[in-house]
Amino acid sequence: MSKEKAFYFFTSIGNYTGEKAQSLEEFLEKVKQIDVKSLEFHLYRGDFERWIREVLGIKELAEKMDEIQKLNLKGETLRTLIYETGSRYLKNYRV
């Protein structure tokens, strides 16, 4: 995946953490350790859903992200849910 299509983690508008992901596996690794503010920022803007759908092309996981967004969770609970949802997908569907 090209750098232009990578997911760049921000904590707020314009504030880049220096972390990026170029695959789902890398994305989940970053989710484990990134500032939780970044997860909240991107999830509620719909950025995860859009990137997973449009760049990774994984519709089912994108829909899961949309469902998580509706739960209005924050902090470590949110981190755990995003991580576990993504990991479950990888475990079940990885070729």
Partner: protein, 161 residues
């Protein structure tokens, strides 16, 4: 004005002419001469020499964009860089029309600082996320959105000439 070893030295009349021009560069030589009590030919000659020697670089137009119904978001974007790439990053940013100013600072870390203008916060974020962050050598970015402007100079003050 005198030139010694390639350096330009201005006298009081030159400085006063510059002071008047920076407020209104469209004043006639006669009007400037009247303000300063000198002949218009003197003003003409002084301005010609200031232009020829590059002290006056250009005459420009300051547009009040808010009068055009445009309320832009302006931000100072501080980019922490890999020292090997900072020059490239600064040059690439300088080519973008929405980047008003690009500076390099060598403090504890090498930083590229850019003043960026955008239609709104979303467009500012999009520019940083899609153009700045992917540039090779960008380590981290801190963005400060300007909420109030207390003073702005678009010229070098005569107080430091």
């Amino acid at each position: 004005m005198k030139i010694r070893s390639g350096k330009v030295f201005l006298d009081d009349l030159d400085k006063k002419i510059l002071e008047i021009l920076r407020d209104n560069a469209r004043l006639t030589y006669t009007a400037i001469g009247e303000k300063l009590g000198v002949a218009h030919s003197t003003v003409y000659e002084r301005i010609r020499r200031l232009e020829e020697n590059g002290v006056i670089k250009r005459y420009t137009t300051v547009i009040d964009v808010e009068k055009l119904g445009f309320k832009p978001t302006v931000a100072m974007v501080t980019i922490h860089t890999d020292p090997k790439e900072s020059e490239n990053i600064a040059r690439k940013l300088a080519k973008k029309r929405n980047v008003l100013e690009v500076l390099i600072s060598l403090s504890e870390e090498l930083l590229v600082i850019a003043r960026v203008i955008a239609e709104d916060q979303e467009k500012l974020h999009s520019f940083i996320a899609n153009y700045v962050a992917p540039l090779p050598g960008v380590l981290r970015i801190r963005t400060s959105i300007i909420t109030r402007k207390i003073k702005e100079l678009d010229y070098v003050s005569s107080s430091i000439i």
